[in-house]
Symmetry: C2
Subunit: 118 residues, 2 copies
DNA sequence: GCTTGACTTTGAGTATGCTCTAAGTTGTAG
DNA sequence: CTACAACTTAGAGCATACTCAAAGTCAAGC
């Protein structure tokens, strides 16, 4: 599929997709005879994973490091798993903090509620 | 207290504190006879609240709008409460999404685990 | 009274993650 | 065969949130 279809499916702009390729997040994207990018289903799977890492607060630089390891092959699988484990730990901590923040905000709202009578 | 003590207590650099004042997050900071900022306990309470909003993903611009309303006085209390309610909703949604991401990452780790035997 | 150190201001510089522009190429439709 | 839309690249520009630099002020200690 071409870049527009891929952009549609992944919900990432064509600009950003090219940018992701430029900084090494996307690799080995096929090209057709006219030099246009030809994306595959595998590219979608990988891109969705990039989105997941990004949405959970991983920097593009760190995602790129993961992509580097992926490129190096099977022998880096254990290391990649460890990186993912470290990341889930950070994520768990963030969810815990956000849950606390949420509770505090709700307390503040409750306090506002006692002040406002109308 | 001076800016260094305040920076220590709030865990925000003096640079950033001045920046926050410049963009209107901090207001009416007292000054001593030499023109140096003299922070109060109230400033700490408000700054901690700024941190909470920021840590839950609110932009400095939106925090500034909240600060504007706060400055306008009591009659904006209801509106501020509504802004906070809207923000808690966004936060709840984000926590839900992150929890899903966490689950998916753990599934991927489990999958790595079946691949790696050593 | 002069040095020292912490403060002050204005404005410039930086990192991240896009986002867009300019100039050019290619493939299909009329 | 030419117009046109969609692609290509390199590189500039932008928003956010800092972060720092330069030049100056001020109070306390020697």
């Amino acid at each position: 599929m071409n870049i527009q279809e891929f952009a549609e499916l992944t919900q990432i702009s064509a600009h950003t997709i090219r940018y992701y390729e430029k900084i090494g997040l996307l690799r080995n994207i096929n090209r057709n005879s006219s030099g246009h990018r030809a994306f595959t289903k595998n590219d979608i799977v990988w891109t969705d994973f990039i989105k997941r890492l990004k949405d959970t607060g991983m920097s593009l630089q760190d995602i790129r490091r993961y992509a580097d390891l992926r490129e190096e092959g099977e022998h880096t699988a254990k290391l990649r798993m460890q990186l993912l484990q470290a990341h889930t730990k950070i994520l768990e901590e963030r969810i815990a903090i956000e849950t606390l923040h949420l509770q505090k905000l709700k307390e503040k709202i409750k306090f506002y509620d006692t002040l406002i009578i109308d």
